[in-house]
Symmetry: D4
Amino acid sequence: MDNYLNEYRQLFQQIKSGEVNIEQALNQVRNLKFDDLGFAKVDHHRQIRNGYPEVIFSQGKTVEQIKAIVLKLAEKNNNIMATRATREVYEGICEVIEDAEYFEAARIVVVKKRNILVTEKTIAVVSAGTSDIPVAEEAAITAETLGNRVTRVYDVGVAGIHRLFANADTLMSANVLVVVAGMEGALASVVGGMVDKPVIAVPTSIGYGASFGGLSALLTMLNSCSSGISVVNIDNGFGAGYTASMINKL
Amino acid sequence: MDNYLNEYRQLFQQIKSGEVNIEQALNQVRNLKFDDLGFAKVDHHRQIRNGYPEVIFSQGKTVEQIKAIVLKLAEKNNNIMATRATREVYEGICEVIEDAEYFEAARIVVVKKRNILVTEKTIAVVSAGTSDIPVAEEAAITAETLGNRVTRVYDVGVAGIHRLFANADTLMSANVLVVVAGMEGALASVVGGMVDKPVIAVPTSIGYGASFGGLSALLTMLNSCSSGISVVNIDNGFGAGYTASMINKL
Amino acid sequence: MDNYLNEYRQLFQQIKSGEVNIEQALNQVRNLKFDDLGFAKVDHHRQIRNGYPEVIFSQGKTVEQIKAIVLKLAEKNNNIMATRATREVYEGICEVIEDAEYFEAARIVVVKKRNILVTEKTIAVVSAGTSDIPVAEEAAITAETLGNRVTRVYDVGVAGIHRLFANADTLMSANVLVVVAGMEGALASVVGGMVDKPVIAVPTSIGYGASFGGLSALLTMLNSCSSGISVVNIDNGFGAGYTASMINKL
Amino acid sequence: MDNYLNEYRQLFQQIKSGEVNIEQALNQVRNLKFDDLGFAKVDHHRQIRNGYPEVIFSQGKTVEQIKAIVLKLAEKNNNIMATRATREVYEGICEVIEDAEYFEAARIVVVKKRNILVTEKTIAVVSAGTSDIPVAEEAAITAETLGNRVTRVYDVGVAGIHRLFANADTLMSANVLVVVAGMEGALASVVGGMVDKPVIAVPTSIGYGASFGGLSALLTMLNSCSSGISVVNIDNGFGAGYTASMINKL
Amino acid sequence: MDNYLNEYRQLFQQIKSGEVNIEQALNQVRNLKFDDLGFAKVDHHRQIRNGYPEVIFSQGKTVEQIKAIVLKLAEKNNNIMATRATREVYEGICEVIEDAEYFEAARIVVVKKRNILVTEKTIAVVSAGTSDIPVAEEAAITAETLGNRVTRVYDVGVAGIHRLFANADTLMSANVLVVVAGMEGALASVVGGMVDKPVIAVPTSIGYGASFGGLSALLTMLNSCSSGISVVNIDNGFGAGYTASMINKL
Amino acid sequence: MDNYLNEYRQLFQQIKSGEVNIEQALNQVRNLKFDDLGFAKVDHHRQIRNGYPEVIFSQGKTVEQIKAIVLKLAEKNNNIMATRATREVYEGICEVIEDAEYFEAARIVVVKKRNILVTEKTIAVVSAGTSDIPVAEEAAITAETLGNRVTRVYDVGVAGIHRLFANADTLMSANVLVVVAGMEGALASVVGGMVDKPVIAVPTSIGYGASFGGLSALLTMLNSCSSGISVVNIDNGFGAGYTASMINKL
Amino acid sequence: MDNYLNEYRQLFQQIKSGEVNIEQALNQVRNLKFDDLGFAKVDHHRQIRNGYPEVIFSQGKTVEQIKAIVLKLAEKNNNIMATRATREVYEGICEVIEDAEYFEAARIVVVKKRNILVTEKTIAVVSAGTSDIPVAEEAAITAETLGNRVTRVYDVGVAGIHRLFANADTLMSANVLVVVAGMEGALASVVGGMVDKPVIAVPTSIGYGASFGGLSALLTMLNSCSSGISVVNIDNGFGAGYTASMINKL
Amino acid sequence: MDNYLNEYRQLFQQIKSGEVNIEQALNQVRNLKFDDLGFAKVDHHRQIRNGYPEVIFSQGKTVEQIKAIVLKLAEKNNNIMATRATREVYEGICEVIEDAEYFEAARIVVVKKRNILVTEKTIAVVSAGTSDIPVAEEAAITAETLGNRVTRVYDVGVAGIHRLFANADTLMSANVLVVVAGMEGALASVVGGMVDKPVIAVPTSIGYGASFGGLSALLTMLNSCSSGISVVNIDNGFGAGYTASMINKL
């Protein structure tokens, strides 16, 4: 909160010196009060210097709206990540900016303007079925774009638990794990019982009948009897990747 | 349906011989038509000869009502099983009949009047946590009372999956499996992925928060990605034991 | 678990004879430990020798993905079954392999490379309404492809219960029963009250208004007061056919 | 609406004759307008002459409150029925009025001051399990107190469908049927398929696990594929008896 | 059940006379037992003589399937009613049979081969909003086709309750009422408070947001504090019309 | 209620003078009784004089139906507002009337025939995300068309709470606030904690996964620990704008 | 926000005059920044001068905790209101302070230290059944304690709608209305259709069966087709009274 | 996995040396295979050396059972933590072991046998209302017992958001945050918008009406629009404290 106090310090010196009068100072305070609360997320400067991307949630926005946002963000010469991006979104972005890369499985467009330091420690992204891969990739690409080393362990659902165990070393050497599963979502509990690292569980809407759009997997994960598991919203690969990155970088 | 047709055959012979007239025969048919449909479950004779018990569901009945039912059933000199029986129910039964045995963990009273042939093949009853044991025991005692060899594998929840695997031989040598689990209910999927025998999954109401009285485990089990799993109602240990016995005796 | 121990036995003999040194042995153990746990389902050899099919769940996969999987499985010269297959999936499979057969009502493609021994005992597949037939056929074709004799009893909903009773002999002579019903799903309870064989109940999403996509039938079946009924997921004809087959072959 | 118009007619005559002046008449109209809308249920006179009871819903009222209401109603010398009445309520009523009768199973107190003509046609009250009897009796006693001939067919759940069919004649000779069932509630559909008379279905909260306090039976009944079935609230025996009486007396 | 007993009487006379031997008789009994249970709905003869239609539920059937059913039913020269029929269904029916009439708002096709006696007493069909009219018309046309006099009172939702009261005479002179309402479904309670005749309430799926596809109106109607109301499934205009007709014809 | 009584007063004078006889008067009363209850909303005259619009809820109506309604309303020369109007609806309205204006974001068509006095006090319409703007605009345009001064504070979700506080003066100077938010809907609580004016909270169906079509935001708002918040239906911008206007004009 | 700026103004003058140095000023700012954001609710001074009470939500607090809070609040000599207060709470409060008054039906304790100006305009509190009175009284006493004139219209449920209309004048002369109803909750819609003033609807948990603890009434009220209705949480009489007071005092 | 391989290494050397024969070795492997899978959590040795406690979940266990478990764990001279412990549990533990400490608000008993190194970095436990404190304390005491520095920020719900901001420095200097809130649960989103550290959100069952036992807060937290938030089960303070500790110690 130094910056914030610095602004006040400067103002006080100006008051003391008579450079600004009291009414002028009060006007400044009204703005300072609310505009510069100094909360972490308001201070983008540090993040930008480190190559953190600006994020656009594409779903529910038109291609034209996204192009406009990209153009505006590009002025800062910062990295940009557009999630839930269709191919049309990607092609629209290509019209206004160079060097956009499309991760189709993850439905993410990345525009890389600065390099970002990559962590030594890895995030493991684990998924149960092949249908869960889009959500898993959304988590993985998000974490990579935020500067994390990521290992993928896909198609290791509990119905064939030997495949999961064949990857035990990989799981146990990760620093943080993202576990993505639909249907009954039991994979999170099993992985949580194997490792002693934080597990971010992502229920997916994959399933049919009484999976109720991911509710089944969501409840399974919330009720896990394994410790160290916390859960994000159904299909929220981005949130899982972001949270895992935040933890991995502590 | 032989018995049923025999009654008609006898009637027809009586008509032919003039022993009964047609109006008398029609009266008999009205009764025969509905009373002796000949469905399997109506024919208790075979079951009784084999030592199958009569079952009383105690919940929602007064001790006096249960005592009356037991007295009436005892006339047939058949085995009796009372489920969801409190200690008070057991003590009430003891007042009217000898040789009642109380399985407290299972909440079942058994009155054994005839021996029942025990199967060679085993039913494995598997449970996740210690709190699931009452439901597991209800299934196990039910199956044993119906004449099955039962092996119990308790406290092998997926949070410590090595304990489950330490019992792999037992699981894999069972003919039918009953898997009892509350909270997230993932155990059924994992067991279903280990064996190629039918698994009867029993969700329990054990859990808290978003387990919603067993709904979480129920949905998990219904959505299992392992094949060969079918599900009974929440806490329905009796139903699972009965179904497993039916399958084991095929 | 003989095979599994045999691999260790062979390894130990090689250690003893000095054929492999201890470090080499430890590397092998790492793999043996997880790759060859010896669980039943890992051992496909026995199943394949008996003509059991490999199963592809087509829903959520592209035709190209399915064609690739079929081609890979075909190398083993094993039977193949693709469920939830549209006509497009069938035509795609025909492009890469001969002898594919399409069961349109069941939405199943079967490629038969080996004969499978058919059971003496029958599975009865019973359905309530004509709209339930796709799910019923999925169960029936699944069971037949797995080598079971199947009898179909369709359109016998409880609203016209005499039609059900006209088929009582068929129901009562089955070894296992699959009961498929949407709307209120009462058929499972009535059938369960008629027979003393295991009943696999399949709720369907057929219905409108407060059927809530099959929830109504699902709850009905879970709460059945008839014994010997267990339930699979909504519309899960495959799961019911597979479970019934597993039971029928015990 | 004759009475209602009569009051206006009388008023108009008084205006015409000058007996009341226009301002007095306007004041009367304000009251007439809302107090004497002439709707059927406001006109208790006809009902009272016919012996229809006044109804007190006891649940949520104190014994003192109920005693006060009974005393007030007793002034009209009308029949009184208190539903959901505990034994304490009954004893309280006995303190303030003679001739109260307590139907314990139905939890109803009846005070009979006038005779009520009993219908020729019967209402059949049918129930699935013994635990459903309180709700069934609430319906039966309600219908009887309202002057209907009632036949009871209890403990005929679909798990033993031959018992239901043994009563087919009784069911088919009823003019209206009330079907009371908990757990899976399938009885309403089966009865609805046997008769061509209106069926009032009452789900009960009897059951456990996924019966969710009667929700399972409620959904079953709403989704019934049998025609002629309509449904009242869970455990609402009074509502069913009242509606059946209304239909039976048309 | 006279017909049914007549068949037995005839059989017995043939046994007595030696016309059929006992084994032949037993074969006949097997069929009689289940085919001719004598339940009301099996005996279509009376209904057909009175002009009652056969009903086809079109939803989920192809036009070709419906045409085939119509052709088969037409052989009996009976009235036919197809519900949930699109214009395509109507045009398909016109290709195979003459004189089909299409009630577009009700989505019902009627083929009238015989006249049906129309009741003196009326059924009032009352609806809340203009969007509820398709369901209301389904009820009204169903009741008319079954031979009832029907009066329609539409667009009288409780938000403008004076419109409802302007029709009070019509409501109060009906013998049975069908009340159709979506959104909050309060109309059923208000009408139920005005009349002392049976009210069949039909929740519709009309609404948005927290109406949850008709759940809101369904719960409102089930919980109505007015007596004499029973409820059918969401959007089930046919069921309401059928039940109302059954009651109206008692 | 003066008008209403005036009609009676006039009638009484006519009775007194003999201008109408008593039977004629009774006929008039039947109509007066229900047609002119004198409730506030029946009396459109005052509203119309003040420029209040007639409202058409377009959803579920055809363009032709809407055109007909507009034409009929236009006869009264009153303002008209059509909500949930697509561009097709707007174009249809333009065919039958001049001067229709389309607020595309709000999906509202306004036809202004009379001026409406605008309030001094303002309604603040606050929204969380850009996707919530259609619902927010529906509220804002509704309130403006009803004659309120409206200030918009958009895109101030709690994830970046400094943006909300930057608008604190605007929020605190409003007389009534409408807060529109999807996803977790926390904005209503935060705003409710900042101001001491009534807050109308509108949950939107914006969100994914476990937002369940707006249920999450709805529950959040209902459970708000801030006082002075009341809630309308999911996506019900019109209802919020209308209620806010009603409050603002007290 | 004048007070807030005044504190800064005073600080700036002290800086200018040298009375405080810059570091001292920065320390003060840290506190000012967050402690005195100047939001309306932080400024209790105006409210206290006007007799507004401090509110204690008693539920979930021990009597000792409540006594301690009362003692602390009493120091300010302000009015105090404790909601959801049992008689034990009241007696506990009496031990530490004089002049506490207990409104038993409303479960509210009021300690009045200052007079509060009472509004000219009235709030009408309307309730459907006698069981809803506790919630209605909570709303009424809350509104009265906050200085509003309140009229009560109780026991006017829609099942006997003439009682509601007999109070039409009272309803129509209120400035704001609180409508309290359980079971089907239809009363809010009917009242909302009669008046053109804001209606705060309060669903109650009164009911049984499918009322699901107030969910039925809640959904009814949210889906109301009457305009001008907004809804608070189930049983939240306090919230309704508070919101109504806020609106009534605009 | 070193330990695990060491056991195999030792075995292989014994085989090589002839110390064990091959059959003996195979027997050992059967055990090694499943008992010593080498998964992290099986290896308690490291944890125990670091002072990590063994955890007993007391809920659903009798005091006698807990005493027995404590006695057995005490043999290892390890720290012990019993969660959801009533005062009776605490007193029972005191009977069998010395030095047990009871954290009443947290419902946790701690038996400290070894010291545990405390982290430099802090976990902030933030709670909305005073009723949420038991869950918050469960999280805080869990984290402290696992060796974390914990700061508590209680009673900072969003209804009085200035209290939250007054603690902004504390929140922003934490390494991990646990946010505990019932009712609408909005606090997690607001805190998540203020910090850029991982937030573990814990919904509590505090609330009434439509909070549905914590469902409202759960959905709010899952749908949070702030990034970096993950969620544990309702009231799961232990899980949150454990997960936060796991993250804090990375």
